[in-house]
């Protein structure tokens, strides 16, 4: 793993081209990690339709074919069950509002395929990967999503060294993990915690307690982002602020490296969260001015 980044509008500004800012941050770090790339962008409350979107890869003779299914509420449980039982598929994204795109290659390749720069939203996360312990295939690219709960995305820099213990404990509870990549475990764990009590900070604290190894990750939900570092702070992670100016409203940016923050002008209040203490960012509801 390698480079993570995220942007969240300070006020709930919908329809801002977040994808463009994420692209800039990722391009600035590209030289360090070139195996695969991915983004997950949220446009708070923008999905007016009532269906769920499930993206997955179907494995066929070493090739990965991407499939998208639009599933209405009434068919959801059955579809989720079928997908969980199928050994040849790997989930890429389970979403109602989130737009998750990932593939092997560089970020500019991803942009050519999906036009990332023009995707609008209130917040989003991005990732550049250099593989450390699993293969370079599209299903191992970040962000990771999970069938446990829609609209959860995780990008991760580091290693979860007790991955097999965490994985078997989640599998014992009945959850299916589709890849051998340790980052997937974060998504499933956090989703499981949110199902139990809904508190993102508590979920992250539980993970910090249980997980071993150096890691910094960002988890995104429909209304918030959390930047989390392990107990020892063994991997970098910083955030900074860009105040409102002519070009864009104010926003917070998170990244592995300072140069990524520089690339989007998020150079105020630059701070690194203390190890073991998650830093949560939420979209503030912008209060509409009352017209006289």
């Amino acid at each position: 793993m390698c480079g993570i980044c995220a942007i969240i509008m300070e006020n709930n500004n919908k329809n801002f081209p977040i994808g463009c800012l994420l692209f800039k941050m990722m391009e600035s770090q590209q030289i360090r990690a070139q195996d695969s790339t991915g983004v997950a962008i949220f446009n708070n409350g923008s999905n007016k339709e009532e269906f769920y979107k499930i993206d997955y890869f179907r494995k066929n003779n070493g090739k990965y074919n991407q499939v998208t299914e639009k599933v209405p509420q009434e068919r959801l449980d059955k579809t989720l069950y079928e997908l969980t039982q199928d050994p040849n598929i790997v989930i890429a994204s389970f979403a109602k509002e989130m737009n998750l795109l990932k593939d092997i290659g560089l970020v500019r390749d991803l942009d050519a395929k999906y036009k990332i720069k023009s995707i609008q939203g209130t917040h989003g996360i991005g990732h550049l990967r250099i593989a450390t312990s699993s293969r370079v295939t599209p299903d191992h690219a970040h962000p990771f999503s999970t069938l446990v709960m829609p609209d959860i995305a995780v990008v991760h820099n580091g290693e979860i060294t007790n991955y097999s213990k965490l994985r078997s404990s989640l599998e014992l509870q009945g959850y299916r993990l589709f890849t051998r990549c340790d980052s997937e475990v974060i998504a499933v764990f956090i989703a499981d915690q949110l199902l139990r009590h809904g508190d993102l900070e508590k979920a992250n604290n539980e993970f910090i307690k249980k997980a071993d190894g150096p890691f910094t990750y960002i988890v995104a939900t429909p209304d918030s982002l959390a930047l989390v570092r392990d107990r020892f702070g063994a991997r970098k992670g910083i955030f900074g602020y860009n105040p409102c100016n002519r070009n864009c409203p104010s926003f917070w940016a998170m990244a592995t490296d300072l140069s990524a923050l520089d690339s989007v002008g998020a150079t105020l209040y630059v701070e690194t969260p203390p190890p073991g203490k998650p830093k949560i960012f939420k979209n503030k509801i912008m209060i509409e001015p009352i017209h006289n």
Binding site: T132, S133, E159, T161, N162, S164, K165, S169, L172, Q173, D212, G213, P214, R231, F232, A234
Partner: protein
């Protein structure tokens, strides 16, 4: 390098260093001609190593970062016992009273410094002069005396150890479980691998398996501690499969004793699935005073036991850190590799270099042949074939 190898290596290089001309035979030619090592004296542990952290995961630094060794014993319903070091002093050695006193003093001193270990004993600690304990005692219940729980509670033990021999032991376990709220560990070495499920169902907080005893029995003849630990861990995991409670919340512990009396073996046993190790060297040190021409007094022996344990703690902190873990209990079987087919079979340990267990390699060969020939085998038949292959 053992001594025979050292001699060959030195001879070879010194010959080159003296003459600068080629030799007749190489080091490996000479080593190959050495008489074969008697397989009885080989300890399979020597063929098992752990893979360390380098680039794909970074190591931790035990001198500068906190490495946790803490463990809590006791399932949901029991009162918990916490240890700072996952060792319980265990001894099949005939214990002289003064040896036990020395160990007691050492354990107290360790506990004062925040290094709490446990002690298993059948001797009454109350006979020691200063018998205040700062460490948890697991009182061993004697099978032959039909004593009631009150008898054992006189020593105020934090936990009990019950030796399981037969159906009568089950009754004792059931009775004690009703009345004793601390952890009860059941020593199943006499009956292993039977009864594990029953014992856990009756509410035992953990099982103790002495690999020395088990490998002397018929069922494990010719096998090594590795097989015993692997089977014990599987027995506990099987018990939890499909049950509501998750093992992680329940803290059922596996205590392994026997051939685990050095830091390296403690780590390997923990990686295979032991939660706590029944450690006998401390008792050995205390007892060795009996063999001295000028026996020392109790407090010097206690000092020896104390210093030895401090050194051992340093060792078992350093090794997980070098494997990339900040918590000793995160060691897992995927960290082990072996250079012996036998060890791979006994403990399901991957072979070094190929990173697959011997069984997985046979599995691959079987699957390849089966799909080549278009034969369909159900899982039972596959299992039978694997068993046949492995026995050859």
């Amino acid at each position: 390098m053992n001594d025979a190898d050292k001699f060959i290596i030195r001879k070879a290089v010194l010959e080159l260093a003296k003459t600068g001309t080629p030799r007749f035979t190489s080091i490996d030619d000479d080593v190959r001609n050495l008489p074969k090592v008697n397989s009885k004296t080989i300890n399979l542990w020597d063929y098992v190593t752990a893979i360390g952290a380098q680039l794909s995961r970074p190591p931790y630094d035990p001198y500068r970062e906190t490495i946790s060794l803490d463990i809590s014993i006791g399932r949901k319903k029991s009162r918990k016992v916490s240890l700072n070091i996952p060792l319980i002093i265990y001894g099949n050695i005939a214990i002289h009273h003064s040896s036990l006193e020395a160990v007691h003093l050492a354990l107290n001193r360790l506990a004062e410094k925040g290094n709490v270990l446990g002690l298993i004993s059948e001797i009454d600690i109350n006979t020691i002069k200063d018998n205040t304990r700062k460490y948890p005692l697991f009182k061993k219940v004697s099978f032959y005396k039909n004593d009631s729980l009150e008898h054992y509670q006189k020593s105020c033990p934090e936990g009990l150890v019950l030796e399981y021999k037969d159906q009568d032991s089950l009754k004792i376990l059931q009775n004690f479980r009703k009345e004793f709220d601390g952890p009860i560990l059941v020593d199943v070495s006499e009956v292993f691998p039977l009864y594990t499920k029953t014992i856990l169902e009756e509410g035992a907080d953990g099982i103790i398996v002495d690999t020395d005893k088990v490998t002397k029995k018929e069922r494990y003849k010719g096998k090594h501690a590795i097989a015993v630990i692997y089977d014990a861990r599987n027995a506990i995991n099987d018990y939890y499969k499909g049950r509501e409670e998750n093992d992680n919340d329940n803290n059922t512990i596996l205590v392994i004793a026997g051939d685990v009396n050095s830091a390296g073996k403690i780590v390997k046993a923990a990686a295979l699935g032991a939660n706590v190790v029944g450690y006998s060297t401390s008792m050995l040190i205390a007892h060795s005073n009996m063999y001295s021409e000028k026996p020392s007094n109790v407090s010097s022996i206690a000092e020896n036991v104390y210093r030895h344990m401090v050194g051992t703690k340093g060792e078992i902190k350093g090794i997980p850190a070098a494997l990339g873990y900040s918590d000793f209990h995160n060691l897992s079987p995927s960290d082990l590799r072996t250079s012996s087919i036998d060890a791979s079979l006994q403990g399901n340990i991957p072979l070094e270099g190929v990173d697959r267990t011997y069984k997985e390699m046979i599995d691959e060969i079987v699957n390849e042949y089966v799909s080549e020939k278009g034969i369909k085998l159900n899982s039972l038949e596959t299992q039978q074939i694997l068993r046949l292959m492995v026995r050859e």
